[in-house]
Symmetry: C2
Subunit: 327 residues, 2 copies
């Protein structure tokens, strides 16, 4: 029997990943947003409540990533009914962890369960992209796709190709450290506006190819060579207090590479195995603290989970048990 | 018994391949350079003769790609003897077909057979790179690596990683059309010097990732999406008379994509199967002719041959049977 209400979670995600700017992203097993969606008779979308770690989000559905995603879905599917949404944010805002994408994803996954004939998850991608666009100004899939589909994804421009799963070796773990500072995506984008030299593009494309082929082959050395970023990181590093020290701490702890998660200020390091990631994450966290900023750390396989329906809304709070703040 | 003289061929190659600028290249089954190398007592390298389709090449060993490669090899291996080289050029100069690289590769492969303990081919890469550097000004492997190792290669910057073979589906064929015009690499490089916008880099990186993953998966649609070039081709197209028409002819004939081979003026199109490539190649050739330039066409699997020793030096001329000029 079709339910009148459904709750879904969508995981945080880490995008860009060094050379994969606006292209690569993977989901994280930890921080999550939840959306509880109710089917209503009125042919509209309402944001009923926003709770959790972020509440200062647009309450107008058109301006809210979850609301805009549902508006897109209603319109495309020509639905005769509407949706009312309650968001429970577990992903901090402006953190570079795909929070705005996760809200959109959680909303469409929950709403999908209320359709007379639910769609496969992949079909929800385009609606979630429309939702994300109200936050970022364009339809970027590098957080939406991993949050919706799970794992490590190449999210091509929608007009080019569908997102595809990349092989993520099961021994590959990330340590993501989120400092208690906010970096607005607009500011982070503005830092990238000056033009680029061809030589930098060539170097970056070598990193990207090495990363993609290294992942495909499970080749640790090639992944290590691939995790370099000569285009974006040098321009954004100064926006993140302590970035150089945090990256250095990751590398000193044996990271295959470390760079900015999404638009920052979160920083990730990739490691071989969970134990190394935990040790590296602690060192990265310590480096943020020494720079004067409390920071949370999350250890996750790069092959993280996909968004899914939840049966007991109480699980909405488990994420906070995973991430530990330190100051 | 170690011979006193050996002859090797090295195939032409097609580099850049759309989004893989200074990174990707594959060998071609057709145009070839040959080097006959003799061991001499004098501790030096001599260019004894240059024959074939190009003869106006530097005769001073230091300035000749084959000579410079052998000088690098002698020095690195601390050889007590020298080499004398005769080159037979089958690859036209300034064609974007890796001719200068092939001469270097043929020379080191032939000379290798004269060592007391010949090395594996992969170990010759660095010497051939040193040879190529005298022609191009830097150590680019995107023609050297495919000519030496065969097939489709990602030739990373030497300090980053060794070159790696990429999967090339056995149904993937190229039609390479070489017009009877010379485009100097220096001129082709100069066209690229103005800076680039981030959005173009992002678009190009999406093409590159789609191409790499499409090749890996043997996914025709993804290869098609990947074969786009928004960075280099738009700036070089005007240097190649008739380029737009030739590309259009390839696409109209069903090419997965078409772009500039190396620094041009040769143009390649990728096709599914040899027959389609032959039909497409003829259409591309016709388009060059209509633009007022005679052109040769070569049909080859993308997984072309590696350089190798030849036992009968007469095979040096078979390449000319494959390529047909038309005007």
């Amino acid at each position: 029997m079709r339910p009148e209400q459904a709750t879904a979670f969508a995981p945080a995600s880490s995008a860009n990943l060094g050379p994969g700017f606006d292209l690569l992203g993977h989901s994280l097993d930890g921080w999550r947003d939840h959306a509880t969606v109710q089917r209503i008779d009125a042919p509209e979308v309402r944001i009923e409540a926003i709770e959790g770690v972020v509440t200062a989000l647009p309450a107008r559905a058109e301006d809210n990533t979850a609301g805009a995603a549902l508006i897109s879905m209603r319109k495309a599917l020509n639905l005769p009914f509407g949706f009312s949404v309650r968001l429970k944010k577990g992903i901090p805002l402006g953190s570079g962890l795909g929070g705005s994408a996760a809200s959109a994803v959680a909303a469409v996954v929950a709403a999908n369960a209320l359709l007379d004939t639910p769609l496969p998850h992949a079909a929800l991608y385009t609606y979630a992209l429309d939702g994300e666009a109200v936050a970022s100004g364009s339809r970027h899939g590098d957080n939406i796709a991993p949050s919706l589909l799970g794992g490590l994804i190449a999210a091509f421009k929608p007009e080019l190709a569908e997102p595809i799963h990349l092989a993520a070796p099961e021994w590959l773990y990330t340590a993501v450290v989120h400092p208690a500072v906010v970096l607005e995506t607009k500011v982070a984008r503005a830092a990238l506006s000056a033009p680029y030299a061809l030589a930098d593009f060539v170097q970056q494309s070598h990193h990207l190819a090495a990363l993609l082929m290294g992942l495909q082959r499970g080749d640790e050395a090639l992944i290590r060579q691939g995790l370099g970023d000569v285009l974006v990181e040098p321009r954004r590093a100064a926006l993140i207090p302590g970035f150089a020290q945090v990256k250095q701490a990751a590398l000193a702890a044996g990271a295959l590479g470390a760079s900015i998660s999404g638009a920052g200020p979160s920083v990730f390091g990739w490691f071989v195995g969970r134990e190394n990631a935990a040790r590296g994450g602690a060192a990265m966290q310590e480096a943020f603290v020494k720079s004067g900023h409390a920071a949370s750390v999350l250890i996750s396989p790069v092959a993280g989970p996909a968004a899914a329906l939840v049966t007991t809304p109480d699980t909405a709070n488990t994420a906070t048990l995973v991430a530990q703040a330190k100051d």
